[in-house]
């Protein structure tokens, strides 16, 4: 499973930021052709992002391009961008499964022979999109994650967007559950106040607690804090080791049931422990010798 703790938006019409997008070590950069770019600049941005994909080294960051919605410039974006080998496209304003299948077909047509298949991430940011979340989640095998865009969503609801996020609780829950049911990742909405680090920490911790695997970000200054929040803590890693050793002990003793601290260790717990240890290993947080 890919690491997508942070997905950083980079305006697709800003050469300096496109050039530096890789230095923040976000798990993914999202080169943005949609909201960041005015309609009269769409052509220029599309060419700029295409060149950036071909020339700029984004290091270990996954290269994602946010295309325009299907009813505007999505087709032009896909034809130009897909042959430049992005790792994934972020599809905005997805409202139904058909939106994803249409994009998937266009992507398949635009891919060059031998090209690594381009993945898709669906951005759900309307009440209808949230209502259709599960259908969207299982619409196409290219789809690897559902992401929540809460700003547009709350505007459609007529609710006030707050830092506590009570108004998006239902949307978060729908995205999380649908993604989990379809076996893909759930990515949380951005925390938009770049000058409130405490607010970012609280919002990210909540997202992690709910089950999100990562968070969108509109500011490079947020990346290291988002990573810190999503990284397994020392206690979590320690707990995971103990779960796994309890299981091994039980197996060695021929017992089908393991327990830890007086609680039964069953399959979901083992899964969570294994994911924690996997993250710890790839992030260099694991103990020596493990």
């Amino acid at each position: 499973m890919e690491l997508r703790r942070s997905l950083l938006f980079i305006p697709g019409n800003n050469p300096a930021m496109l050039q530096n997008g890789g230095v923040f070590e976000a798990d993914a950069v999202i080169l943005d052709l949609e909201d960041a770019v005015a309609p009269q600049e769409k052509d220029a941005a599309r060419l700029l992002v295409a060149e950036a994909l071909k020339t700029v080294d984004y290091g270990a960051s996954e290269k994602v391009v946010r295309i325009n919605p299907l009813d505007t410039f999505a087709a032009e974006d896909i034809i130009t961008i897909v042959p430049c080998c992005p790792d994934a496209l972020l599809v905005p304003k997805v409202e139904c499964a058909e939106d994803i299948t249409r994009v998937a077909q266009m992507v398949a047509r635009a891919e060059q022979p031998g090209q690594k298949p381009v993945k898709l991430i669906a951005l759900l940011e309307t009440p209808r999109g949230i209502a259709e979340a599960y259908a969207v989640a299982k619409a196409d095998p290219r789809l690897v994650a559902l992401a929540l865009g809460a700003e547009d969503y709350t505007a459609s609801l007529g609710a006030k967007r707050t830092k506590e996020g009570t108004e998006i609780f239902n949307a978060r829950a729908a995205v999380l559950n649908s993604a989990a049911a379809a076996g893909i990742q759930a990515i949380d909405t951005p925390f938009t106040d770049a000058n409130d680090p405490e607010g970012l920490v609280a919002d990210t911790l909540l997202a992690k607690k709910l089950g999100f695997k990562g968070k969108l970000s509109i500011n490079p200054r947020q990346i290291s804090e988002i990573h810190r929040m999503f990284n397994p803590t020392a206690e979590e890693i320690d707990w995971a080791y103990r779960v796994i050793s309890a299981i091994r002990r039980a197996e060695a003793e021929g017992s089908g049931v393991a327990s830890l601290d007086g609680k039964m260790v069953d399959a979901p717990i083992v899964n969570r422990a294994e994911r924690t240890l996997y993250l710890a290993r790839i992030l260099g947080l694991a103990k020596e010798g493990e």
């Binding site: 530096n20 230095v23 923040f24 080294d57």
Partner: protein, 519 residues
């Protein structure tokens, strides 16, 4: 062509430079051993009924008397708000003086009138540690027949103490004074904090003139520069504009690339094992270096470490760290903002020191020698880690060492921070245009795309790799930048030498040649 010599970092220099004299080539950061006595200024007396109060500058010029060919010195604590240099030089010009040398520790845009004095022959020699603005540009364009001398802050103190920069008259802008010549920088409308860069001038000049706009009853306290070294006190309406005195660069940068570099810098300091009890630190007042202090602070707080001292140009940020108990002392040669002024006046753990104490290589120990880590900037750095902070990418003078070379030489770990690409220009080159700080004193280069360690510091490289830092060879970083931006055309210059860059020990590390418009 004149006879030439090559110094130890491979710079080709004339054996003798007209208007400068014989060149002592740079031979290594600690190669020069001093063999001289200190300079001794004139011995004076003051009778019990004597007075130092003078009506105006002209009277002082007449009494000394200031004559053609003298060296007049000034400090730069009023920075871009300074009114004293222009006032004194206007007087010199009005009195028809010629052929003067101005020894001003740093020159700012406000000193533009000096250019006219240079054109008119009032000023024919210039000696400084940092040059910016119109004076720097005029010197780059060859306004003076003789080359200017660019020193380090410690090197200027050394040159004064050793008699190589012989000062006839030191004009000291004094934010506060009493009429018997005690001076400080912590009160008055032009309060600037420490007067450290004026200490050597006051100690070694033959004549010392205090210029103030704020007279307090005798005796003034605290005393930064004492009555025993001051000949005259002149009161004027205004010595400087407080708006220009407070430096504008004391806020932590919000540029994400700058912050990334700052964060990596703090991780380098941590990985070097320096974040421990007694940690000592110097950083500049620029937005990115200040941000490094911010991340270092977080690490100190997390680990519960109390540092011994922070050094150098002091900002409100450092004052806050002192007051929150993160450092036991501040050693202050120059304050950058009003918080630094307030703290220096009120806090006995905030120490005012002179330029020699701060950084002179030729005394019994300067403060930079006690530094664990220093974070410095660069306009260019080469693959031997030599740093240019004198000339810009067009070859024009736009800075100077200041304390750069001094702190680099003294600190246990010297970190240079720079954006790998500045605008569209790579900052790493095979050879910097003007070598200022030698690579042997630079340990680490931190950029947004990786950290390069000087091969002399294999110990650090091991630690950084173990800590998971993105360590790369300097050549790798250079290639990376060139892949993105291409290889810039080398700068071309005229032949005329417009400035001699002296290392802190007085040897010549490089020269600056006259600016040429690039084809």
């Amino acid at each position: 062509m004149d006879k030439t010599i090559t110094n130890s970092i491979g710079r080709l220099l004339p054996e003798t430079i007209e208007g400068y004299g014989k060149v002592a080539p740079f031979a290594g950061a600690f190669a020069t051993v001093p063999e001289m006595k200190r300079q001794a200024p004139l011995v004076k007396r003051m009778l019990p009924d004597g007075t130092k109060r003078m009506q105006n500058l002209e009277e002082v010029f007449r009494l000394i008397p200031v004559s053609d060919g003298m060296t007049l010195s000034f400090h730069h604590h009023l920075r871009n708000g300074d009114g004293v240099v222009n006032m004194v030089m206007e007087t010199a010009s009005r009195l028809g003086l010629k052929n003067l040398t101005v020894a001003l520790s740093s020159v700012f845009p406000v000193h533009e009138p000096l250019v006219e004095h240079m054109k008119n022959g009032v000023v024919t020699g210039f000696d400084s540690n940092y040059m910016s603005g119109p004076v720097a540009q005029a010197i780059s364009r060859g306004v003076l027949a003789k080359p200017a001398i660019l020193r380090t802050h410690g090197g200027r103190a050394r040159a004064i103490e050793c008699g190589q920069l012989k000062i006839d008259v030191a004009f000291i802008a004094a934010p506060a004074a009493d009429e018997y010549g005690n001076l400080n920088g912590v009160s008055g409308p032009a309060a600037c904090g420490s007067l450290g860069y004026a200490f050597p001038d006051a100690e070694y000049a033959d004549h010392v003139v205090a210029i103030t706009d704020h007279l307090e009853p005798y005796p003034l306290s605290p005393i930064s520069i004492p009555q025993t070294r001051v000949d005259y006190v002149v009161t004027v309406e205004c010595i400087g504009d407080p708006k220009g005195i407070v430096s504008g660069t004391t806020r932590i940068t919000r540029d994400p690339v700058g912050l990334k570099i700052a964060e990596n810098t703090a991780r380098v300091i941590q990985a070097a094992g320096l974040i421990q009890e007694g940690f000592s630190f110097q950083t500049g007042a620029g937005g990115a270096t200040l941000a490094a202090a911010h991340f270092v602070r977080k690490m100190m707080e997390e680990k519960g470490v109390v540092g011994s001292f922070a050094l150098g140009g002091i900002t409100g940020y450092m004052v806050d760290m002192l007051e929150k108990g993160l450092f036991r002392k501040l050693i202050d040669v120059q304050g950058f903002d009003l918080e630094a002024v307030r703290s220096l006046a009120a806090n006995p753990n905030h120490l005012e020191v002179g330029a020699g104490f701060y950084a002179s290589p030729f005394n019994n120990g300067c403060a930079v020698n006690q530094l664990d880590a220093v974070v410095l900037g660069a306009t260019e750095i080469d693959t031997d880690f030599n740093v240019n902070v004198v000339t810009g990418s067009d070859g024009m003078i736009m800075g100077g060492s200041g304390g750069h070379s001094d702190a680099a030489a003294g600190a246990k770990v010297t970190i240079v921070v720079a954006n790998l690409l500045r605008g569209r220009l790579p900052i790493i080159m095979d050879r910097v245009l003007t070598a200022t700080t030698p690579g042997e004193t630079v340990d680490v280069l931190v950029t947004e795309r990786g950290v390069a360690v000087n091969p002399r510091r294999g110990d650090l490289k091991e630690r950084f790799t173990a800590a998971g830092l993105n360590v790369k060879e300097v050549q790798e970083l250079k290639d990376l930048a060139e892949r993105l931006a291409g290889i810039p055309e080398p700068i071309t210059t005229e032949d005329k030498i417009v400035a001699v860059v002296e290392y802190r020990d007085g040897t010549v590390i490089d020269v600056v040649r006259q600016f040429q418009v690039q084809p």
